[in-house]
């Protein structure tokens, strides 16, 4: 079964600085999707960014970008110009292209210091 590992339970960043959250996954499949979700305190989970495995180009959404290393099975999230509103739990998730199950990592709690 596919597993998703987030090795950083907590991270902190100074406002306006850049931070990178790590994620690795284990799979034998070649076609799949990867996601980063953000869960602010007491608020609902929202999608930050997604990556299709067949695309070599790294996805970018404004201040959020990923470093997708397919061979290394690594999918890190970079947040540039961090803002106080970025403080949240961040979950990395994997989904097989042909399957239904979305596998989530345990999450990384990001603190943004003013």
């Amino acid at each position: 079964a596919q597993t998703v590992t987030q090795s950083q339970p907590e991270m902190s960043v100074q406002e306006a600085e850049t931070v990178t959250l790590s994620c690795t996954y284990d799979t034998s499949e070649s076609d799949y999707y990867l996601f980063w979700y953000k869960q602010p305190p007491s608020r609902q989970m929202i999608l930050v960014i997604r990556q299709e495995a067949y695309k070599q180009q790294n996805a970018t959404e404004n201040r959020f970008s990923v470093n997708f290393q397919k061979a290394a099975k690594s999918f890190s999230l970079k947040i540039s110009d961090s803002q106080l509103g970025d403080a949240a739990m961040y979950f990395c998730a994997y989904r097989s292209a042909g399957g239904n199950d979305m596998r989530f990592g345990a999450g990384t709690r990001l603190t943004v210091k003013p």
Partner: protein, 114 residues
């Protein structure tokens, strides 16, 4: 566009009691998911519906959990009887389809079993 609605937001019950959660997905979303998120962990898929049919319930503890999505719109998740280890946040999500489609999450129901 209205988001995913869930009720109740909080529920406290004693072990061996029963409880039900309700979810109303975004209009037009054919796929509906129920996740269990235990404190400190990422969400775990319990069951996935495509319209009113079950696509995946492999991780649903069927001896005590049940779910239905009559008419392919809103859904209920029931636990009977509840155990202490069922204490968690139960998240409902919906998407237009499967695969790469974004899942939109509701605010969740926090269940405490005493």
């Amino acid at each position: 566009e209205a988001g995913v609605a869930q009720s109740p937001r909080y529920k406290i019950i004693e072990k061996r009691q029963s409880v039900a959660f309700w979810c109303n997905p975004i209009s037009g979303h054919a796929t509906l998911y129920w996740y269990q998120q235990i404190l400190g962990q990422g969400p775990k898929l319990l069951i996935q519906f495509q319209n009113n049919g079950v696509v995946d319930d492999s991780q649903l503890p069927k001896d005590r959990f049940s779910a239905e999505r009559l008419k392919g719109v809103d859904s209920t998740l029931k636990i009977q009887p509840a155990k202490l280890e069922d204490s968690a946040v139960y998240l409902c999500a919906s998407s237009f389809g499967q695969g790469v489609y974004e899942q939109y999450f509701g605010p969740g129901t926090r269940l405490t079993v005493t």
